[in-house]
Amino acid sequence: MVKTKRIALTQLSSCWGCDQALIDIHLKLLDVLPKLEIVYWPAVVDYKLHDLEALPKNSIHIGLVEGSCRTNEDLHLLKVMREKSKILVAWGSCSAYGGVHSLANQWDLKELLERKFLKVETIDEGRIPDENVPGFTESIKPNPDIVPVDLVLPGCPPTSENILDALTALLENKPYDLPTKTVCDECPLEREEKRITKFHRTHEGKIDPTKCLLDQGYLCLGFATIGLCGAQCPSAATPCKGCFGPPPSVVDHGAKIISALGAIADMTPEELEAAFPDPIGSFYMADYASSYLSKIRDKMSRETK
């Protein structure tokens, strides 16, 4: 009999896209599944939270956590997963860096709740739900800042190959290290000396699908983004949005991006400022929670309380 490993998969606040990517392993699932014993996976198997809570400590070999902590229930689930798992994986950009919804960290929770539940254009008499709901966390933090994790697998979502590689490595007790290369290293498009005099929105002009998108003045963030995805977007003439987060050597994704843009943009400061009306949205699409800016704001609100 094949020796199986006990695995648990949890979804916190997220779109469950990482599960989709896992299922998309498709026929290779036949190789992986017999080696796994699923002990918790609400997306697929009917286990409840109390089943997970009832497991002994460190009884799960591999725990995959997808999504970030927007509610107190997420926070509880994450802590339970840490307690029960030997190897905890921050699975996907939400888990690793806070994800797209961490862009909400630009506002206080009070403002967010009012905007969402009271001031929505389609609502007449709104109210903030307070019964039978777990309550929200003040801000979104990357999961590795809340509990220690053993492995970070970024991506929005990580590709099926990424997940298969990581899972295979974990099943064989081999190390899995993130690559140091960037999307540009994997990108097939033709590059030239960069001198950008004007940035375009994606819908403006016509993109030449054979040449580097950044050279053409489209904000492609491949240069500051970890090369895990196989340059899917630039290969299809779509600028990289940086959803996989930075390579391991980079501390702050957006800081790296503006450092690089400053070196290649041949524009006056005023033009440059006008070119990016929403710099946080452009430079930190999927990892704002892990940025210095968000952490400074967190610290500020903690100190003023």
Binding site: G254, A255, K256, G262, D278, I296, R297, K299, M300, E303
Partner: protein, 158 residues
């Protein structure tokens, strides 16, 4: 910044509190480029020009070497202000490092503004090796600006 213990700087522990009570003395981190502003700061010192002692200078070879994460990290660790001082446009020892800094600085300021952090806490100035007075004035004005803003809210105990 905050890792510097009083022991390592040789300053007696009580010094920070011996000042007039309630008086806020900003801690300003200054990045100076080796070829212009650091020499300018040196000149200001040897010419005995008077300026507030609030700036802690870090010498870098060129302002183009300053990664934006250095500045953000300084603010995160509680620096009240970050001053960047480089060569005048056209005078850069490496031809264009200061211009790259200017472009980065522009984007950094819009990021800070959007994130709700006072962009006045960071400042970029040009001061050549002969301009000890410009450097002195830059530091003096920076200290005034930061005093008006108050301490960095991330710092414990204000």
């Amino acid at each position: 910044v905050s890792n510097v213990t009083p022991k390592s700087t040789g300053i007696p522990k009580s010094k920070g509190k011996s000042k007039v009570k309630g008086q806020f003395e900003p801690r300003i981190l200054a990045f100076c480029c080796n070829w212009c502003s650091y020499a300018g700061a040196d000149l200001a010192g040897t010419s005995r020009m008077q300026m507030p002692p609030n700036a802690r200078i870090i010498r870098v070879n060129c302002t183009g070497r300053i990664d934006m994460s250095f500045i953000l990290d300084a603010l995160y660790q509680g620096a009240d202000g970050v001053l960047i001082s480089g060569c005048h446009p056209g005078d850069c020892h490496y031809t264009s490092g200061n211009l790259k800094m200017e472009a980065r600085f522009t984007l950094l300021k819009s990021l800070l503004k959007q994130a709700g952090i006072s962009p006045e806490r960071v400042h970029l100035q040009w001061a050549s090796a002969a301009e000890g007075d410009v450097f002195t004035e830059g530091v003096t004005k920076m200290v005034e600006r930061i005093k008006k803003l108050g301490p960095n809210p991330t710092r414990k105990g204000g």
